[in-house]
Structure formats: structure tokens, C-alpha cells
Symmetry: none
Subunit: 256 residues, 2 copies
């Protein structure tokens, strides 16, 4: 049963705003930890006593703030447990990505169709069994003879046609996809971890086996947070380090 109040009595906030605030609170408090799934929309309907329309509007707000990700057939998962506080609004960009590409050459060695098994689905953040095109190659900086990275690029099967264009133009792969298919990348996620370079990769990179390497994974998401492209780069530690600088400024209107 839904209790409805005259909106004047209830802080004059729309219901979906109130629901969104409570959900944000529940995420921040750890009730819904990062990585977990929110209750399904219908469950939230009964929990809050509102219609599905209202729930969806509320979740949309969380999504716009980058707190959750929705996946049809799966659910709504928590991406982050708090929104941008003071120290975020930075002007240091991931938009250095285009430049990164301009200064480097990608030489592809292989292209094949793959189906995402369990571990690969984990990397690609996609459902099991989805079809992708995998393009493998080396990335060289400037005129260097030694590659700065081993690169695996995964492209969602729907956009696999651009595999022919990769390397032919000095454009990032995601830009090629955007232009070719008229879609828009809405989000970029970047993950960096360390690894020890195994024998096979060491040989290809011409480094000593057992030396350190940096794995930089970039995921590009389209309209509905569907993964479009995922690039996995393995850099020898002595040929690459990742750095960024951020100019801080206090946002004017802190708002809610």
C-alpha cells in the first residue's frame, strides 16, 4: 500500500529524488557494497511503496552520477559508494588518450573472433558467452625499435567490422567505432595493476622473464553502459610509467 503525501508536506521534493537520496545513503553506508547488486526494480517498488516508473527515475539519477551500472538481464550493480566530493573536479583528463595514440604506432599482428569465457568476461565486464573480436599487436613510441607495450584490443562483435581500419589511421580505436557506427562513448574506465612478465610475453617484448610489468586496461562504454571496446596493454616497467597531475579547485556550489 502506498502512502502518498501532499508534496508540500514532504519537503516539496519529488518522490524519485527522495528514493534516490535513500539509495545513495544505503550505498554510502555499506548496505549495498561496491560490486554488489541493488535489489531488482520490482523489489524496490514494494520496499519504497512507489511505482516502477519512480524507481527507474531514481536509479537513473544514480547512474548519471556514476554510482551504479545497469545491465539488462543481470541487474543494477554498485560502481562507487560516494559521489564526487571536494577533491575531484579535476581538469586532468583521460582526454589525453587521443594524444597518447597520436604519439604512438600500433602494429597489429593478429585478429580473431573470440567468445568470452568466464575469465575473459571478467576482464571485459560483459556477460558470459558474448562474442568479441580480439586484435593483438605491439605499440611503439615514436621511432623506437622496442615496443612500449603488448596490446590486446577487444571489440564488441557488433562493431567488429572496424578491425580492418585499425592501424591505418592515426585515430584511437574508439573514435573509429564512434565515427563508423554513429555511436557515442559515454564512459571510460581505467584500471592499472602490476604483474610479473611471463616467459612468452617477455620474449615478445624482449625483456627478461620475471621482470615487472604494468597492465593498463581501458574499457569504453556506450549509451547503456554496454562495453564497446576494451584495450589491455602490458608495459614493461622500465619503458612506461603512468602519471597524472591534477589541479584542484573547490567547486562553487557544493549542493547535495
Amino acid at each position: 500500500m502506498s502512502l502518498r503525501f501532499p508534496s508540500q508536506l514532504v519537503a516539496s521534493q519529488p518522490q524519485y529524488v527522495l528514493v534516490a537520496q535513500r539509495l545513495i545513503g544505503d550505498i554510502a553506508s555499506g548496505r549495498y557494497p561496491v560490486g554488489s547488486l541493488l535489489p531488482a526494480e520490482l523489489a524496490l517498488c514494494t520496499q519504497f511503496g512507489v511505482s516502477r516508473h519512480t524507481i527507474r527515475e531514481a536509479i537513473r539519477r544514480l547512474q548519471e552520477r556514476g554510482l551504479v551500472r545497469r545491465q539488462r538481464g543481470v541487474g543494477t550493480s554498485v560502481k562507487a559508494n560516494r559521489m564526487e566530493s571536494r577533491y575531484i573536479q579535476s581538469t586532468t583528463q583521460i582526454s589525453d588518450l587521443p594524444r597518447y595514440v597520436e604519439d604512438t604506432r600500433l602494429v597489429t599482428t593478429e585478429a580473431e573472433d573470440v567468445v568470452a569465457d568466464e575469465p575473459l568476461a571478467e576482464i571485459l565486464k560483459c556477460p558470459h558467452g558474448q562474442r568479441w573480436v580480439k586484435v593483438t599487436g605491439f605499440r611503439y613510441a615514436g621511432k623506437d625499435k622496442l615496443p612500449m607495450a603488448l596490446t590486446d584490443i577487444y571489440i564488441a562483435a557488433a562493431y567488429g567490422g572496424i578491425r580492418r581500419l585499425i592501424g591505418t589511421m592515426k585515430l584511437p580505436v574508439y573514435t573509429l567505432i564512434e565515427k563508423q557506427y554513429g555511436i557515442t562513448i559515454v564512459e571510460v574506465e581505467q584500471e592499472i595493476r602490476a604483474t610479473v612478465i611471463g616467459a612468452a610475453d617477455a620474449k615478445r617484448l624482449r625483456v627478461k622473464p620475471g621482470s615487472a610489468g604494468l597492465v593498463v586496461t581501458r574499457r569504453y562504454f556506450g549509451d547503456n553502459d554496454r562495453p564497446i571496446e576494451v584495450a589491455v596493454n602490458l608495459h614493461p616497467a622500465d619503458r612506461f610509467s603512468y602519471s597524472m597531475s591534477t589541479r584542484l579547485h573547490v567547486p562553487a556550489g557544493a549542493e547535495a
Copy 2:
């Protein structure tokens, strides 16, 4: 009269996308000039033969792209006739630093005065011979028994007094310095590289020697780009990875 096609035949695009594209085209072509009002939602419903829900979803897309502005009681007015390029002013969450600290505990083991010799000056990006306070410790995540990182914190001698406060409060060290000395951090520089964990550090972190580690160095700069604090964290690869996510959006979304 509403022509409805099976979505498979119609480019598999949702109706609201098609409506949005036609509206964008009509705006670009000058049929709806900048400053004019779009037809009311109900009028568009009959024009396109879709429900109001669909129209609103379509207009929402125009709004998100900064093309129109909606005003209750007035209508939907055209703000611009073409979309701005994105990729500027993305609100990037630089893996926000405050949270990192709130969820972890820093246990210090040592504190000493040091003078920056050649290699250390390189790390701190300061002149040789400058005096710093070095605080060494472990960082634990939540209630974990194993440390997630070995930490060296360097503090410019002028602010060395806060060494007593480190670990006593759940605040980042740079925040302590800011509060205590009334200064403001204006820039943060972050550098990430991979390394192989040596025997001594491996023992302290309780990992196998020769395993992979991530070195995250953060430098905090004050008013005149003077380095205030430098934190060097050595993370075992399997206990830490660095990720950040960036939501791209059109700059126009400012609204009132």
C-alpha cells in the same frame, strides 16, 4: 496514424532514438531555429504517432546534449542547433583520495628527519639537501591482517610537526597539514609504476620475493608549487589495483 515496425526491420533502434534523431535533424536544418519553441509534447505525440513517454525520452536526449531547454508552463526551447564536441571537461574521479584514506588504517612504525640526497630529491622533486620528515608504516584495508601497502610519507620540514598526529585521526595527511598550518593543496601529482618486490620488502609485506608490486607515488603541492608532502606506497599486485572511471558529458548541461 501510427506506423509501427518490428524493431528488427528498423535498424534495431528504439523509437525514442529515432524521434530524437529526427528532432535533431529538424533543429539542424533550421525548421526549429535557436530561440524558438518546439511543438508541445502532445503535439509531437500525434506528429510522430508515439506516446508521450517516448517523446519525453527523446527530448531528454536532446536536453542531455544541450540542444534544448525545458520550462514547465512554457515549453521546450532550442538552445543550440548542433551538438558541442564532448571530451572536454569530463568530471573525472581521480580515484578520490579522501575515500582511500577513510577505508584504510595507517600504522606508523618509524619517524625520522632526513636530508634529501640525490636519489631522494629525484623522488621528491625537490632541490638536494632539503630537509624532510620521513614517516614509515603499513597501510591496512578495513580489518585485514595483511597490509595492503608499505608506505613512506615525506613531509616538508616546515610542516613536520604534524608527525605526531599521523594515524591518530581518520584524515589524510595532507588534510592534517592543511588544517594545522592553514595552507591549501592546489595540485596533486600521481605516478604509478610497476616493480618487483625485493627480499626485504617482501618479508615485511609477507609476499614472495620476486612477485609484482605497484608503486604509487603522490606528490602534494601548495601555493607556489612547493612540494608539501610526498607519499610513496608499495602495493603487492594481488592486494591492490588502481582504477578510475570517467563519465563523459557535453559541456552544455549547466542549466539554471
